[in-house]
């Protein structure tokens, strides 16, 4: 499924110079196609995460619209949008995003359990194995290391087999070996038909990328 952004921008009210508002993301258009991996890089504060949140349906753009296939995300009700995001847009957040009260397996199954759709235990087991956390399935998230938590969050996203995957610096706290492993997983997901966007500073990411973009001061440009 194609995720496309049409002239979206995000403007915040904040004193900056003469103006009393500033653009975190300046108007831009972007298309993520199935089967492709797009890598987005840029300095801190350049608007990468804001763009990712707008694409994922979590943050309403000031202008423009985001379409998943034919559906305008921000015209849906909270209930419809929530369901659509749950099934179709997998987000790997930048911050620590695992629930300490649940086990690794429960965390991975959490998105599917929210709606009680089909049983995804097999996919969960498969992704835990691929990401080498199968031994931790019944451990509490509170007992895991940063790298293990990160891989749990990635497994949670991949387990749903979403048509769109948006990952925000997914390899920030991983070693080289695991970084390779994770990028391999994203590549595989793309080959299975997902549209993947990875925000990353890693040069390894570029190796699996079909397209590379750069954000600078809220402006998007193609990386040469």
């Amino acid at each position: 499924m194609i995720l496309s952004a049409e002239q979206i921008s995000k403007r915040y009210f904040r004193k900056s110079g003469e103006a009393n508002h500033f653009y975190a993301v300046k108007p831009l258009s972007l298309t993520l196609r199935p089967g492709t991996v797009t890598v987005l890089c840029g300095r801190s504060g350049s608007g990468k995460t804001t763009l990712l949140h707008m694409l994922s349906g979590l943050l309403t753009p000031t202008e423009g619209r985001v379409l998943l296939g034919e559906t305008d995300l921000y015209r849906l009700s909270d209930k419809e949008l929530s369901k659509l995001r749950n099934a179709s847009i997998g987000v790997v957040p930048q911050a620590r995003s695992v629930l300490d009260t649940l086990t690794v397996r429960e965390n991975i199954l959490l998105p599917s359990a929210l709606y009680g759709t089909e049983d995804r235990s097999e996919e969960a087991a498969r992704w835990m194995e691929t990401l080498r956390i199968e031994g931790l399935a019944d451990s509490r998230a509170a007992e895991l290391s940063g790298g293990e938590l990160r891989r749990t969050a990635i497994a949670r996203t991949l387990c749903m087999c979403p048509p769109v995957i948006l990952a925000d610096e997914p390899t920030g706290d991983l070693d080289d070996e695991n970084t390779q492993l994770v990028f391999g997983c994203f590549r595989k997901a793309a080959e299975e038909g997902a549209a993947v966007l990875i925000v990353s500073h890693e040069s390894d990411a570029l190796n699996i990328a079909d397209a590379a973009l750069r954000m600078d001061g809220g402006q998007l440009s193609a990386l040469s």
């Binding site: 995460t49 949140h53 994922s56 979590l58 943050l59 909270d78 209930k79 929530s82 369901k83 659509l84 995001r85 749950n86 099934a87 987000v91 957040p93 930048q94 911050a95 620590r96 995003s97 629930l99 300490d100 009260t101 649940l102 429960e106 199954l109 959490l110 998105p111 599917s112 359990a113 929210l114 709606y115 009680g116 235990s121 949670r156 925000d168």
Partner: protein, 487 residues
Amino acid sequence: MSKRKMFLRMITASLLRRRSRMLIALLSIAIGATILSGLVTIYYDVPRQMGAQFRSYGANMILLAKEGESLTTDTLQDALSVIPEDQLVGATPYRYVRLDMTSRQQSFTTAGTDFAEVQKTSPYFSVEGEYPQAAEEILLGKEIADTIGAKVGSYIQLTWRPVVTVHENASDDWVPNAKLSGSAEGFNAGIVVVEATLDDEGKIATLEIDASSQTPEIGGQVETDRNFISRFIGQSLPVSLGEDVDAVSGATISSQAVVDALNNARSTAKGSAAAERSGYFNVTGILVTGGEEESYIYMNLKDLEGLTNDNLLDVAELSVSANAEQLEEYAKAIDGSDAGITARLVKRVTRSETAVLGKLQALVFLVTVVVLLLTMICVSTTMMAVVSERRREIGLRKALGAPDSSIRAEFLGEGMFLGGLGGLLGGLLGFVFAQVVSVNVFGSSITFQPLLLPITLLVSMLIAAVSCLLPIKRAVAIDPALVLKGE
């Protein structure tokens, strides 16, 4: 993993992880529910409890004979059958007659009664000495005891002189210098007593009238009305009203009683009256009430009936443990029965009871409402803190596609669970609380109201749910985008 299983798993995990907070919320709900169920129990039990307390105020119902009928111990029993046994605290019969105290040549109003019942219907009576237990024992009003100088342990001879009618064949001339005393029935069966002396020619020289049994402002005037009394002086016996003397205006019956009593005195002295009966009585106690009871002699009804040889009663005082409406009902039922008895409520007593109960119940209601409000504030604050603590988790779940409705349901679920558990605890503790209060304050136990438990449970859950409204609003407003950025 099914949706429901995950839902339960998250609630229990959240409860367990924040057990100290949850314990505080649970405790406040349990305390609120305890006060609620305890006070409601007391609220409904207070009328019963206080009803018994109020009975120390004395009788709240009076039974009298209907006009043309008579009140006897038998008809009294018929009337009492209307009132349920467990509500009838006491029923005291009274028969009032004048008895002569032989040693003093004076007569006193004497009440025949049942002393066991007197102690129930007039618990405020204070007796120096003891209540009579056996036959031929009496209680003296303090005023009489002071007048005649009697003490506990004294013996007093009392004589019953029947009310007689004038004998037609009585002689017109009469013994000079005689001293006469006699009595006759006046207004409302009250006895009027006269004492007279005759001069050398057999005409009335002095006349003393005791009309204390008559209505003071009306018939009682015959005692003091100089114009009335002076008309008797110099008259020959028998006298007749309207010819020899004129009645005191507005008190014809009492005036007639004085005339009758004088004529009776003449007949009695001639030995033509029914035989008088007398007996010796042991004073076991002096009655102190501060009221008119102090001017009466009290004796066993059986003893009095032995003197008068009948079983008539003047009045019965009832102490009934019931509210104003029930009393009205019983009074109506007694009036409607064929016992020939009419019932009157002592409004002063019933009205003050109703007023006190109303105030007490309003107070209980107010305290309950305040406690429930405090409970709501406490639960709401705790849940607010829980939402703050779980901000990140809620944001993440929203980011993973949980709709607002599921967040709402979860917090509501937690709140209802706490409310239910707290309500159950409180419902049971409330009974213990009510029991302790009842035993300590009212001195009697309370019966468990099974219906109160589910009601407490429901109210607690409702209060917990309402308390969660603001925290839920907070939770739903959490922006997942901000949380995911690590802020």
